[in-house]
């Protein structure tokens, strides 16, 4: 059966750690980093990278357009 796997790249410097992407993710892939970026924000990152399905929910709710989404169909 075909399976969809995905990944996101967060622009950590632009991210403001608002958490909206984290709660929008249906697969609990994202979390806020314990580290902060140069502006002091706990930026978003893939806490559980293997669960991402590339659905783009996170990128569509992100106010700062800092998420790029990739998706791949695998057999």
């Amino acid at each position: 059966m075909a399976k969809v796997i995905g990944a996101v790249v967060v622009d950590a410097e632009v991210c403001k750690g608002c958490n909206l992407c984290v709660v929008s993710c249906p697969t609990q892939t994202l979390g806020l980093n314990r580290d902060v970026n140069s502006k002091g924000y706990h930026y978003s990152y893939m806490e559980n990278p293997e669960s991402c399905i590339g659905c783009s929910n996170c990128s569509s709710v992100c106010p700062d357009s800092c998420i790029t989404v990739y998706r791949l169909k695998v057999e």
């Binding site: 796997i5 293997e50 791949l72």
Partner: protein
């Protein structure tokens, strides 16, 4: 290399990219507070302009309000209007350059308080412009004062004990009024708090921009929004509050569609 890194490497490739920031958005970090709805709506407008291929023929009119600097973010020509006057500025632009696509971007104070006259009359003339209305029920820019759309009981810096009808009157449902005007072509109310809502809002904004090129009247898109700083909540709490408190008064959906009203020419004599 670890298994996870290997896996990511295989996915993160140009050919697998499904979402990337629009090229019509500049590479400037927006000044908005973390989680502010303004950023999402900017993104949607930029996406739509890119998709429709109208970057070179679109003029935006930014308001006085938190979105005053919209011109720093969306890579098109802009005119920055005085507080409330964006519909008049857009009218001037559209009338003098009717072949262009012209839109205003305004907050609730801008569009529904100080600029109410300009808003109503631009729509009533059926100006062939798009109006994007960010209703966050507060004056974000000036530090969280009461807006015309502030809910009854809502605490703001000028309604510290909650909005009170006797003192402050009622929340203004201006979009309902707009939908009554014969010059309105398309009037809709959207939000951007979930991925599904964002998809619908994007569709509505795209439709508004497409219709505005057909010159069939004013296209008006309200986006029920959050202002977490003004509301003094986290962005996530703000979304919940908006759904619970704002949606009952400002229900989502289309209020009008199908173009401005056709009329028979009136004969003064005979």
């Amino acid at each position: 290399m670890s298994e996870i890194a290997e896996r990511l490497k295989s996915i993160i490739r140009p050919e697998n990219q499904v979402y990337k920031k629009s090229s019509v958005l500049n590479d400037v970090t927006m000044h908005y507070c973390p989680g502010c709805s303004h950023g999402v709506v900017h993104k949607l407008i930029a996406d739509v302009i890119e998709e429709l291929g109208i970057q070179d023929q679109t003029i935006g009119v930014s308001p006085v309000g938190c979105a005053v600097f919209a011109y720093n973010y969306i890579d098109i020509d802009w005119s920055e209007a005085a507080h409330g006057r964006a519909p008049a500025v857009a009218t001037g632009i559209k009338r003098i350059m009717p072949e262009k696509t012209v839109f205003t971007y305004q907050g609730d104070g801008d569009l529904a308080a100080i600029g109410t006259a300009e808003t109503m009359h631009a729509v009533n003339r059926g100006e062939n412009i798009v109006m994007i209305f960010i209703n966050n029920a507060i004056y974000g820019m000036t530090g969280g004062q009461m807006a015309p759309t502030t809910l009854l009981g809502q605490v703001t810096s000028t309604t510290p004990y909650g909005r009170n009808v006797d003192l402050n009157g009622y929340p203004l449902k201006i979009t309902e009024l707009i939908a009554q005007l014969p010059g309105a072509a398309y009037v809709t109310r959207q939000s951007v708090h979930t991925a599904g809502a964002v998809r619908k809002a994007r569709k509505a904004i795209k439709k508004a921009f497409e219709l505005s090129q057909k010159n069939i009247g004013t296209c008006f898109v309200e986006v029920v929004s959050t202002c977490n700083s003004g509301w003094k909540m986290t962005p996530v709490e703000s979304n919940d509050w908006m759904v619970k408190q704002m949606f009952p008064l400002f229900p989502l959906g289309d209020l009008k569609d199908g173009g401005k009203e056709a009329t028979e020419p009136f004969q003064m004599k005979g």
